[in-house]
C-alpha cells in the first residue's frame, strides 16, 4: 500500500511540477506540501482521479516557533492541512498548503467537499486564515465579536484580557 502512495506522490510531482513542494514520510504516513495557489487543483485531482473521496479533516498549523530543521516542511508561516481518506483503496494522505502571513488567504475547497465548510470556518476562527470562495466564512467556536485568533503561536495561553472586556449583561443592547 505504501508503494502505491509513493508512486502517487511521485506522479503528483510530474503532473503539477513546481506546485508540489515535496513530500515527507514518517511512520508510514505520507504528507505532500503544496504551493498556496495550487490547493484546489491538486485536491480536485486527488478526489476525482486518485479516489480520495473523503476529506476527514481540515486544520492549520502555525509554524512560528518551529525549530529551523523543521522549517523546510513549512516554508511559510501557516500551513493548511487536509487529511484525505480513500474509502475504495483504504489509504490516507495528508496535504499541506502553505499560506504566508500576509496576505493570509487561500482558496476554499468547499466546492469539492461539504466537510470543508465547518473545517475551514474553524481554521479561520482559530488561525485567521481567510478561505476565498467559502459560502459563509465566519467564526464558529469563538463569539462573533472576538478579536484575535487563539491558536496562533503569538497568542498567549491566558488570552489578552478578553475575559475582562467581555460585555456585561447590562451593557447588552436592548432586546
Amino acid at each position: 500500500m505504501a508503494t502505491d502512495l509513493a508512486a502517487l506522490v511521485a506522479s503528483l510531482k510530474t503532473r503539477f511540477g513546481d506546485d508540489v513542494l515535496g513530500h515527507t514520510e514518517f511512520r508510514g504516513q505520507f504528507s505532500v506540501g503544496l504551493r498556496r495557489g495550487a490547493n484546489l487543483s491538486v485536491l480536485r485531482y486527488l478526489r476525482d482521479e486518485a479516489q480520495f473521496e473523503m476529506l476527514t479533516d481540515v486544520t492549520c498549523v502555525d509554524s512560528l516557533n518551529l525549530p529551523p530543521e523543521m522549517r523546510k516542511e513549512y516554508p511559510e508561516r501557516f500551513a493548511v492541512v487536509y487529511q484525505l481518506y480513500s474509502l475504495s483503496a483504504n489509504q490516507r494522505l495528508r496535504v499541506k498548503a502553505c499560506v504566508p502571513e500576509e496576505p493570509c488567504e487561500i482558496d476554499s475547497v468547499t466546492p469539492l467537499w461539504e466537510a470543508a465548510n465547518w473545517g475551514e470556518r474553524e481554521a479561520y476562527d482559530m488561525f485567521g486564515v481567510v478561505f476565498k470562495g467559502h459560502p459563509g466564512l465566519k467564526r464558529i467556536l469563538m463569539p462573533d465579536n472576538y478579536e484575535g485568533h487563539p491558536l496562533r503561536k503569538d497568542y498567549p495561553l491566558k488570552g489578552r484580557g478578553e475575559r475582562d472586556r467581555f460585555p456585561k449583561y447590562t451593557e447588552m443592547p436592548e432586546r
Binding site: 492541512v81 487529511q83 465547518w118 473545517g119 463569539p143 462573533d144 495561553l157
Partner: protein
C-alpha cells in the same frame, strides 16, 4: 456570546410569512449547549443554522502547554459519554508518534474497556433517543445499565467519568483480579436489557413514525460531509476504523460491521443496537484471550517496558539507579517523554465515529500542535441538510440520533 436581537433578525430579514425561532442554547432536547437558529413556515423548517461554540474550552491550545501524558486528562473531558475511548484514542496516537509497542495484555485490556465504553455510549444514546421521542422508561432502563458499567470502570480506573486511564505506552495500572468476573457478570444480563429496549422501541408505532424516513442522508452526501461512525454505516458505507486500520489487537478478534442502507434516523438506531451486540462479541473473545487472565499470576506487563517512555515500577525506582533516572526524567518538567520530530495523524473508532488526533512534534516534551478531529463536529455539520424542509419536531428526532456531545463538538 449574548442572545442579541440582531442575530435573530439576521435569520429572517424578509420575515413576512416565516417565523424565526431559537432552539437552545438551553433546551431539554439539545442535551447540552447547542443552539439552532431556525426559520419556520408554519411548522416546516425553511432554513436552519446551527450555532456552536458554547462549550469551547480551548483544549487544543491547552494541549500545547501540557506534556503528552498530561493531555490524557484533557481527553476525558471531550466526549463525556465515553471518556475511555478518548483516552485510548489519544494514547494510540502518541504511541504511533513515539514508536512504542504496548504489550498484549495492555492491548487486550484496552480493547475490552473501549468496547465497554462503546456499550455505555450507545446504550445511553438509544435511551435518550427514546426519551426525546416520548419513551421515557427506556432512558431509565439504559441509565441503570450505564451505572453498572461505570461501576466496572471505577474498579479498573478508579474513577467513574474522568477516567484518565491510559498512559503513553500502556495503562496506568493492571485491572483488578476480579475484572473478568465483573465483566462477565454484566454481560450475562445485558443482552436481555437490549432485547427489552428493542421490544419497547423497534416496533413502537410512535417511534417508527418519527424515525423512519426522517433525516435521510445518501451515501454520497454522507461521504462528502465527512460523516463517520454509526451515521455513515447507517447510510450503507461499511467503514469502521477497527477494520480499515486495525489498531491495538482488533485484527485478532472476530466481529462484523453492521450497516443499513436507509440512512435515516431509524437506521442509525438499528446500527447502534447491532453494534452493541458486536461489542459484546468482541468483549467475550477478548476476555477469553486476555493474556494472563484475571489474576495475571505471571505478572505480564500492561505497559511498555521501555522505561524511557513509561514509568518504571516503584520498587525498582527505589532500588535501581537507572530506574530512578528514568523516573526523574519522565516526571520533571523540561525533561519528560521526548518523541522524535515529526507528525502523525492517528484515528480510532470512537462510539460517534472517527476520532482523530493530528500531533505535530518538534522534538520536545510538549507537543507543538494537538489537533483533535472530533466525530461530532463533522456529523453535526449535516444538521441543516437533514432538517431543512421537514417539520420542526423532526429536528428533535434528528438531533437525538446524531448523539452530538457538546464537549467534543466545541473542545
Amino acid at each position: 456570546m449574548g442572545i442579541d436581537s440582531a442575530s435573530i433578525e439576521k435569520v429572517a430579514p424578509h420575515a413576512a410569512q416565516t417565523l424565526a425561532m431559537n432552539i437552545g442554547p438551553q433546551h431539554p432536547a439539545t442535551h447540552g449547549t447547542l443552539r439552532l437558529k431556525v426559520e419556520l413556515d408554519g411548522e416546516v423548517i425553511v432554513r436552519c443554522e446551527p450555532e456552536i461554540g458554547f462549550l469551547h474550552t480551548g483544549f487544543e491550545k491547552l494541549g500545547e502547554y501540557r506534556n503528552y501524558n498530561q493531555f490524557v486528562v484533557i481527553s476525558d473531558r471531550m466526549n463525556y459519554l465515553s471518556p475511555l475511548n478518548n483516552n485510548i484514542g489519544f494514547a494510540v496516537a502518541c504511541e504511533e508518534l513515539f514508536g512504542v509497542q504496548v504489550p498484549p495484555r495492555g492491548q487486550y485490556l484496552r480493547v475490552i474497556m473501549a468496547e465497554l465504553s462503546r456499550l455505555a455510549d450507545h446504550v445511553i444514546s438509544i435511551g435518550l433517543q427514546g426519551m426525546d421521542l416520548g419513551a421515557f422508561s427506556v432512558m431509565l432502563w439504559t441509565f441503570i445499565e450505564r451505572e453498572k458499567l461505570y461501576d466496572i470502570f471505577e474498579a479498573v480506573t478508579g474513577a467513574r467519568l474522568t477516567t484518565s486511564w491510559t498512559r503513553v505506552g500502556g495503562v496506568f495500572r493492571d485491572a483488578p483480579p476480579d475484572f473478568p468476573v465483573l465483566v462477565r457478570g454484566f454481560l450475562a444480563k445485558f443482552p436481555a436489557v437490549l432485547d427489552e429496549c428493542e421490544c419497547m422501541l423497534s416496533r413502537n408505532r410512535i417511534f417508527m413514525d418519527r424515525c423512519i424516513g426522517v433525516g435521510t442522508l445518501t451515501k454520497e452526501q454522507a461521504v462528502s460531509y465527512g460523516v463517520t461512525g454509526p451515521l455513515l454505516r447507517a447510510c450503507g458505507v461499511p467503514y469502521d476504523i477497527r477494520k480499515a486500520r486495525p489498531y491495538l489487537c482488533y485484527d485478532q478478534l472476530d466481529f462484523e460491521i453492521p450497516t443499513r442502507p436507509e440512512g435515516d434516523v431509524y437506521a442509525r438506531y438499528q446500527v447502534r443496537l447491532a453494534e452493541m451486540r458486536q461489542a459484546i462479541r468482541i468483549i467475550v473473545q477478548a476476555l477469553d484471550k486476555l493474556p494472563g487472565g484475571g489474576e495475571n499470576k505471571e505478572k505480564l506487563p500492561v505497559s511498555s517496558l521501555d522505561h524511557k517512555v513509561t514509568l518504571p515500577p516503584k520498587d525498582m525506582v527505589y532500588s535501581d539507579m537507572e530506574s530512578l533516572i528514568h523516573h526523574f526524567k519522565i516526571t520533571m518538567p523540561g525533561h519528560g517523554v521526548i518523541p522524535p520530530q515529526g507528525e502523525v495523524y492517528s484515528c480510532t473508532e470512537a462510539p460517534n465515529g472517527e476520532l482523530g488526533f493530528y500531533l505535530v512534534s518538534d522534538g520536545t516534551g510538549l507537543p507543538y500542535r494537538v489537533r483533535v478531529r472530533p466525530p461530532s463536529f463533522y456529523n453535526y455539520a449535516t444538521m441543516p441538510k437533514q432538517v431543512t424542509g421537514r417539520m420542526i419536531s423532526d429536528a428533535v428526532s434528528v438531533l437525538a440520533s446524531l448523539n452530538v456531545i457538546a464537549g467534543e463538538l466545541d473542545r
